[in-house]
Symmetry: C2
Subunit: 335 residues, 2 copies
């Protein structure tokens, strides 16, 4: 690795202290999002639900936490080279906004089929967009080409120490705001959010002696993370079939390493598969009862609870509602 690689490239895996450092670093820029409760949803789920509203985060998704942490942590020399990333939406918008705040250039490689509202957000925040074919291989090829062309710094959407640590700050805030929470659940795509969540949970255990277990929710049509854990090595999705547009990526190397360890220690309890039909039903319930907009990739976490109630019975569950960006020309359940 070249000596001028950014700091994140020289690190191995983040730990709980990195989440605390991220919280301090992003505090001037990110919202402390509210935690919402609903007695009627508690009754329906058979557990206590604490919804961490990252859909109310800047750019409408938790992704701003990790992107902001990574961009703000860059040295001035690295920052001056500009930031490059790949994203179907929320991470790209988050990088664009974080770079605009820092006054540096952002380029986002965007696969075909990305949600229009998310692409518009990237453009609004001033990123240069480079289209590419859908699928992980074309994404990676296009990203490499842009990095070579611009000399910019890569901030990967999930396989990045600073991004993972930043994503963990959502769970950290939730655990601080709701001391009774003993369980967390978050959606998994590339694994940045869930691995950051595991670090936050572990940190609370180390500092406060409080045991917090973590679940992940994964689309049945893009279930490579669960398969990877089961097989003990990273496997790739052989195509994806889910309307959870934020959860189609293959799990990253760093997230996988962190989750494998957490699973061995039984802190990560399970990655639960969820069908899109269940996700849509949960999404509508959240709109109706919580009165907040969540996108399918966020609703899946609540859907997993309703689909696997035995795993959550009687627990106090923190649910990361990861984002709220979707096209509002029509409703997904009124297709």
């Amino acid at each position: 690795m070249s000596p001028d690689a950014p700091a994140s490239r020289r690190l191995d895996l983040p730990d709980a202290r990195d989440v605390l450092a991220a919280a301090a670093r992003i505090a001037p820029h990110a919202h402390v999002t509210p935690v919402l409760r609903s007695r009627s949803l508690d009754a329906l789920a058979g557990c206590g639900l604490h919804f961490k509203c990252e859909n109310l985060q800047r750019v409408g998704a938790f992704k701003f936490r990790g992107a902001c942490n990574a961009v703000m942590a860059l040295s001035d020399a690295d920052a001056a080279r500009g930031v490059v990333t790949q994203s179907s939406g929320n991470h790209g918008a988050a990088i664009a906004l974080a770079c605009r705040q820092r006054g540096i250039a952002a380029t986002v490689v965007v696969p075909q089929g990305a949600t229009r509202a998310k692409v518009e957000a990237m453009r609004t925040y001033g990123a240069r967009l480079v289209p590419c074919e859908a699928g992980q291989a074309p994404r990676d090829a296009a990203t490499a080409a842009v990095l070579a062309e611009t000399g910019g710094v890569l901030v990967h959407p999930f396989d990045d120490v600073y991004v993972i640590a930043g994503q963990g700050t959502a769970a950290l805030e939730l655990l601080q705001a709701a001391p009774e929470v003993d369980t967390l659940i978050a959606p998994i795509g590339g694994g940045g959010l869930v691995s950051g969540t595991v670090l936050a949970a572990r940190g609370v255990g180390e500092r406060a002696g409080r045991r917090v277990e973590v679940f992940a929710a994964e689309p049945a049509g893009a279930a490579e993370a669960q398969a990877s854990l089961a097989q003990g090595e990273r496997v790739r999705n052989a195509g994806t079939d889910t309307l959870c547009d934020g959860l189609r990526a293959d799990i990253g190397a760093r997230p996988f390493a962190l989750l494998q360890q957490a699973h061995a220690e039984r802190q990560l309890r399970a990655i639960l598969p969820v069908d899109d039909a269940d996700t849509l039903a949960a999404m509508r319930l959240l709109w109706e009862r919580l009165k907040v907009l969540v996108e399918p990739s966020a609703a899946i976490a609540f859907a997993a609870i309703l689909r696997h109630p035995e795993a959550f019975a009687g627990r106090q569950v923190g649910v990361i509602l990861s984002g709220g960006n979707l096209d509002l020309d029509r409703l997904p359940w009124a297709s």
Copy 2:
């Protein structure tokens, strides 16, 4: 008036102290709702916006504040008679929930054409529903009949001292949470929310020497409140034409008296008329940018700001997002 009339019937008009008393009375039952901000909406509106999310209140609307205050303030003897009200939706659901919490009966007179989601909420919270024709006269007749039949206590949706004081607690919380706010705006139907808001603003002025001015937003198709102020006496809507289903009532006697006084003192600056098309556009913007569901009757307040920017330029404006209950089978802008 009979000697066993409830306390609210023996009072004349509420004042700022009643709002403080209401805040203490409802504290064990109501949510302290979050205040959301959006830099992009600030830029669009040309002022600082502080959105008080009463759509995230229990039953999905500010109405729970007033209903809860009125129901909890009843003497045990009055409470035992059960509560009767008339409502197209949110107030009815709020009364139903407040009565369930107190363990007493609730009967709601519901006009035809009420939003299905709101009627279902009333039923869910255990109210007995009595249907009637649309329009104020049939509502009043049906309510009188139910009162005679049941011997219950009327908690009017807006022409009630305790209801008005309770609604004022939303503005009170907002002014406490955002000390820079110098202007408030809320939607007006029967006038309970706006008159309570005026009382909260006046109280802050009296206690803290802080000048807070108030605007109201009214559907152009149900603009009898503005006409009443202009003519110096209450006038009735000659039919209504608006999709703001929560704002079709004629202004009540107590709200009118309070608003007439506040207008004379220039604390109530204006009642701004808003076309439904502007309300729908504002509603979609709020969904897209704030990621919260607001119903048309709530979005109208933000629409008024966008329609009359000169009145708000450079101000710090607290916007009461009054509710988020609507039918989600289809989107109102995708008819």
